[in-house]
């Protein structure tokens, strides 16, 4: 079946502009994750959604970063007033429901990423 899709695949923007990155998870996956991959920081967790709620936002680097998910499906990561240090590949992943407190584990499947360059 179809995997996780992300758009755009590449985005070049000027410092100070806002950007929106989109993630379309695998159909039926209720858990959705955003990660960032950068040269200096490696792969780092940003935010997790279960359905439309985000119980874990601990990885968002600043209040310029926000994310939402609607209809339990598509998610949008928004970066306001972009800075050059925001340049990175933003990866989205999805998994089947993660049962909190029950020690559940579900494999995360990743999309191709959005490569963001802030000039």
């Amino acid at each position: 079946g179809a995997g996780v899709s992300q758009s755009p695949s590449n985005k070049v923007t000027e410092k100070g502009k806002d950007v929106e990155l989109r993630c379309d998870p695998i159909s039926g996956h209720t858990a959705l994750y955003w990660y960032r991959q950068s040269l200096g920081q490696g792969l780092e967790f940003l935010i997790y959604f279960q359905g439309n709620s985000a119980p874990d936002k601990s990885g968002l680097p600043s209040d310029r970063f926000s994310a939402e998910r609607t209809g339990g499906s598509v998610s949008t990561l928004t970066i306001q007033r972009t800075q050059q240090e925001d340049s990175a590949v933003y990866l989205c992943a999805s998994s089947l429901v993660f049962l909190i407190g029950q020690g559940g584990e579900e494999t995360q499947y990743f999309g191709p990423g959005t490569r963001l360059l802030v000039l």
Partner: protein, 114 residues
């Protein structure tokens, strides 16, 4: 704090030879461990995972990994490397707190030469 270490930035191996990509972890309790592979300009592809049970885990594309609790290691192996295996490999551990988020190693670039 949980962490994952991949001690080699790059591993070079000749086609047909066995390959090993090393991973060690630090986590309290029982770890959930994963290997992912990333090809150029692509996302991460899941290779295999260890949750519980047999210490030798088999995954996609002929890869396998051995969980060693005493050495806190989860090395990725393949008996016979292919040129097409050349890629960036990431080891990850599931965080004990939080909601299934993954903590990744820095990655190891595997280069398989003909």
């Amino acid at each position: 704090a949980q962490s994952v270490a991949q001690p080699e930035d790059q591993v070079n191996v000749a086609e047909g030879n066995p390959l090993t990509v090393k991973c060690t972890y630090s986590v309290s309790g029982n770890p959930y461990l994963f290997w992912y592979v990333q090809y150029p300009n692509r996302g991460l592809q899941f290779l295999l995972k260890y949750i519980t049970g047999d210490n030798l885990v088999k995954g996609s594309y002929g890869f396998e990994a051995e969980f060693n609790k005493s050495q806190t290691s989860f090395h990725l192996k393949k008996p016979s490397a292919l040129v097409s295996d050349s890629a960036l490999y990431f080891c990850a551990v599931r965080a004990l707190e939080g909601y299934n988020k993954l903590i990744f190693g820095a990655g190891t670039r595997l280069a398989v030469h003909p």
